[in-house]
């Protein structure tokens, strides 16, 4: 179960991540989120149904609720929070529930945040950003999005505390990896931990105060090492983490379409002659409509009306030439033609 192990991850990373609770104050995206939260709080207050009682209890319960909701699907998340809101604060008028459903996914976090009020903005920030993490880690797809979203913020936070971390990171890197690689990986892990840790800071470390100084005591402040025993299994492995920038570059290259992004699935055989497509044929895409065919049939069509069998539009010659595989095609075709001549004579 992914969600279970994420919970574990949060618990396990709790002591290690206290120092990060300070960094989050410099967190840009967190500030953005705070702005959003303020707007939401105004919406909330405009309902005029919020009571000022029992904030603390509500806050704690909301967090518990959030943890529990991790184990549920995201859709049910909102419902649970709705239920909890009614349960915890039965004095609230029913007019609150529309607001809750408005806030939907992260209403649990928001409720906590809203009750705290503006006095403890840091905890509300952590609540909100961990909310992003929580909702992101439910499904694989969203997890990626969440990571990409938080990546910048994490990078900022890490840069701010670079001086604190660097010696330790380099100390870590005395293992077999090359410094640049492992530093990247450790940073990635640290970022991951930061995300996880933020969720917990609000729940556990906040009541004790932020008295813990960051980067003081060796192991606790360090990021997970790849071979760390306590490293949660849910943390993405290094290969996956490192693949983020690479993915970005890949997306960039997709500016040249059709070359790597197939419009149609590559058929196993040529739809014209029904012969199997070899590697050259399958990488040959002569028409923008995505209709594939083998080089023999393409050459044959060019000799006649030169229209794509898929869309009946004439083949564009420069397009074809830029494909680069035409040369090979004509070469093989010449061979085939000579063969057929021999056979005929």
């Amino acid at each position: 179960m992914v969600s279970d192990s994420i919970n574990n991850a949060q618990i396990a990373s709790a002591p290690n991540s206290r120092d990060f609770s300070k960094k989050k104050r410099t967190n840009r995206s967190a500030k953005l989120k705070q702005c959003k939260l303020d707007v939401r709080r105004e919406q909330w207050l405009s309902q005029g149904a919020v009571k000022n009682k029992g904030y603390k209890e509500d806050q704690k319960d909301a967090r518990k609720e959030r943890d529990r909701s991790l184990e549920n699907s995201r859709q049910r998340d909102g419902h649970n929070n709705d239920g909890s809101m009614h349960h915890e604060s039965d004095s609230e008028s029913p007019s609150n529930s529309p607001t809750n459903s408005l806030l939907c996914g992260d209403s649990g976090n928001n409720s906590g945040t809203n009750f705290i009020g503006s006095s403890s903005s840091s905890s509300s920030v952590s609540g909100s950003s961990s909310g992003g993490c929580c909702s992101g880690s439910i499904t694989e797809e969203e997890e990626d999005d969440g990571c990409l979203d938080d990546w910048e913020a994490v990078a900022d936070a890490l840069a701010a505390d670079d001086d604190n971390n660097k010696p330790e990171l380099e100390h870590d890197n005395s293992c077999s990896q090359s410094p640049s690689e492992s530093q990247l990986s450790v940073q990635s892990d640290a970022s991951r931990e930061l995300e996880n840790g933020l969720g917990l800071d609000s729940a556990k470390s906040m009541p004790e105060g932020v008295g813990m100084l960051p980067g003081v005591s060796g192991n606790n402040t360090r990021a997970w090492r790849p071979d760390d025993v306590f490293r949660p299994q849910t943390l993405p492995n290094l290969a996956k983490q490192r693949s983020f920038p690479a993915t970005d570059r890949h997306f960039g290259q997709r500016g040249v379409p059709w070359a790597c992004n197939n419009v149609l699935p590559v058929p196993s055989s040529c739809p014209i002659c029904y012969e199997d497509l070899d590697f050259t044929d399958s990488s040959f895409l002569p028409c923008l409509c995505g209709f594939r065919l083998c080089l023999f049939c393409h050459k044959r069509i060019l000799e006649e009306d030169g229209r794509c069998p898929g869309c009946r539009k004439p083949y564009e010659h420069d397009q074809v030439e830029s494909e680069g595989s035409v040369q090979g095609g004509s070469l093989t075709f010449r061979l085939a033609r000579s063969c057929s001549m021999i056979a005929r004579s």
């Binding site: 002659c273 029904y274 009946r312 057929s340």
Partner: protein, 194 residues
């Protein structure tokens, strides 16, 4: 040179879903140049209930050139010659694509039966009737379907017997009947013309 490998595979593919499409393709000669296709008349049209035989001849350039098709069964349709069975259909002419197959072409012919194009006629008489007196057109088309496209109630043996009695050799009668899909009238026409 015809791509016989492709034709062979097309025939296999077509025989796979013969129940779903109702479209049959059978070779007439051994060399797969000459075939005969069978399509059921579309439901909800005057052609419903009929079985239409289409003669298919593959040109040398197939599949880069369209197959030559014409109706063997007589049909009353604006885009099909009531005399020769010639079909006026763009995909059998300039709109042919090598990506099409015999089966998809026959499907298009079947679609043509349910959607006549009287503005681009093959048979001007039928098209005129279609445009001016639709009810009469429907009646005629239905009558032609009943007369020419319904399988004869006679069994194959009886048909052979009948044709042999007319003086045709037994083996030729059998092969001709087979070629036209068991249609007695078509077989007779073919025997007389050969």
């Amino acid at each position: 040179m015809i791509d016989f490998g492709r034709v062979q595979k097309e025939l296999q593919e077509c025989s796979k879903d013969i129940e779903a499409s109702g479209i049959k393709i059978n070779p007439v000669s051994d060399n797969l140049v000459h075939l005969t296709g069978t399509i059921p008349g579309p439901i909800g049209t005057p052609y419903e209930g009929g079985t239409f035989h289409i003669d298919i001849t593959l040109p040398d350039g197939y599949p880069f050139e369209p197959p030559k098709m014409h109706f063997v069964t007589k049909v009353w349709h604006p885009n099909i010659s009531s005399q020769s069975g010639a079909i006026c259909l763009d995909i059998l002419k300039d709109q042919w694509s090598p990506a099409l197959t015999l089966k998809t072409a026959l499907l298009s012919v079947q679609a043509l039966l349910s959607a006549p194009e009287p503005d681009d006629p093959q048979d001007a008489v039928v098209a005129q009737q279609y445009l001016r007196d639709y009810q009469t057109f429907v009646g005629t088309a239905r009558y032609w379907t009943e007369t020419f496209a319904k399988a004869s109630s006679l069994g194959v043996e009886e048909k052979v017997q009948k044709l042999v009695e007319m003086g045709f050799p037994d083996s030729l009668v059998k092969s001709t009947l087979e070629a036209v899909g068991g249609d007695e009238n078509m077989a007779l026409e073919k025997l007389l013309s050969s």
